[in-house]
Amino acid sequence: MCLAIPHRIIRLFDDKRALASAGAVETEIRVDLVPGLEIGDVVLVHAGFAIERLREEQGQEIEALWEEVRRMAGIVHE
């Protein structure tokens, strides 16, 4: 129930409905919680509704955290 799966928008029917694909599976989804979607956008779909548009970039917090991890691992190698 908590599961949300990324889908790519293939077709927009109106401001409420779209056809989206996850791999080979195409499903009709509701898009009224995420306005302004375009074909090709990737959305997170939960219980048949897109809940957010996914962005590709990784946050700065994650980059900073990896720095910390590598620093710790550096200590191991010394």
């Binding site: 129930m1 599961l3 919680l33 997170l44 219980a47 048949g48 509704f49 970039e57 955290l65 691992a73």
Partner: protein
Amino acid sequence: MNETRERIALLSKALDLMTDRPIRVMEVCGTHTVSIFRQGLRSLFPPSLELVSGPGCPVCVTDQGEIDAAVSLAGIKGVTVATYGDMLRVPGSGSSLVNERALGRDVRVITSADQALEIARNEKTRLVVFVAVGFETTAPSTASVILDAHREGRGNFTVLNLHKAVPPVLEALASDKNIALDALLLPGHVSVILGLSPYRFLPEDHGIACAVAGFGAEDIMLALVEVVRQIREGRPRVASLYSQAVREEGNCLARDLIDRVFEPCDSSWRGLGNLPLSGYGLREEYSSIDALKRLEISINDTSPPSGCSCGEVLKGKMLPRECALFGRLCNPSHPVGPCMVSSEGSCAAHFRFSRGGDHPWKH
């Protein structure tokens, strides 16, 4: 795969070096629970890091009295109950929705709130009851469909509204000295809707380290490194490590829909009892859609199944295997409590994935 394996090994090593005292972390998302087991991450944690599952599975936290109300609705002539698949097999006090269906009652599985309304549109002689469970991730879709039904004047569509709010249950857990949490892995999809600010009371008032995490092995390991780092530095905060989907402010439109249709109300949680303002009650304006009012059914206090420890498991006070029923008397083929029914329940995850054998990271 080799590169992933190396990165996981690096994270495991860092976590091991950083964890210099006992640390208790709780994850409160069913998808995290399953992901941690499926990917064999537990065997990578240092011994002093304890990860317990909290009330992150919506079906599992639905109270026994609420399940009984759903089951009793299915028995009413002319009623069609529509709900998510996980709800069907949860045992009520006398029956379950799946049993009712076997007896010929009209109980249908849907994967979206939209489908429940579609049944009402297509079958005008049936009174459809959509049994709506879930946290902030699902509440906006229920709200959207309620607004559609209201706009259409769809008189044969009703909702048994059992939605619950995550921040108040985190407050209850954080305040319980017996649970003694050091850190929380916050639920990723709930956070997509809520954003980060509703969690700030956790570090500020309770000193609990928090991270919003994605669902891959690397995401979860990184989140653990983050909360351990916060604890070491004595600076608990809400870190956002799922920025692909979670914005600082959340999904404002979805939250507006929740506010239009629901208002905070007290709600009963399995194992946690009645928590103030932890539910989303239907606003008066939509009372004609309230299945309890339309069908004059009430939600009563009922005891959980005898011997079932789901309540203690949901609070992180007991591990599934410590329950006397686990495995032999309660298993996925014959579940006694909801945590064994839902695929996201911690008992089901323990049963499916904790049966020994090699795990993928140690080769």
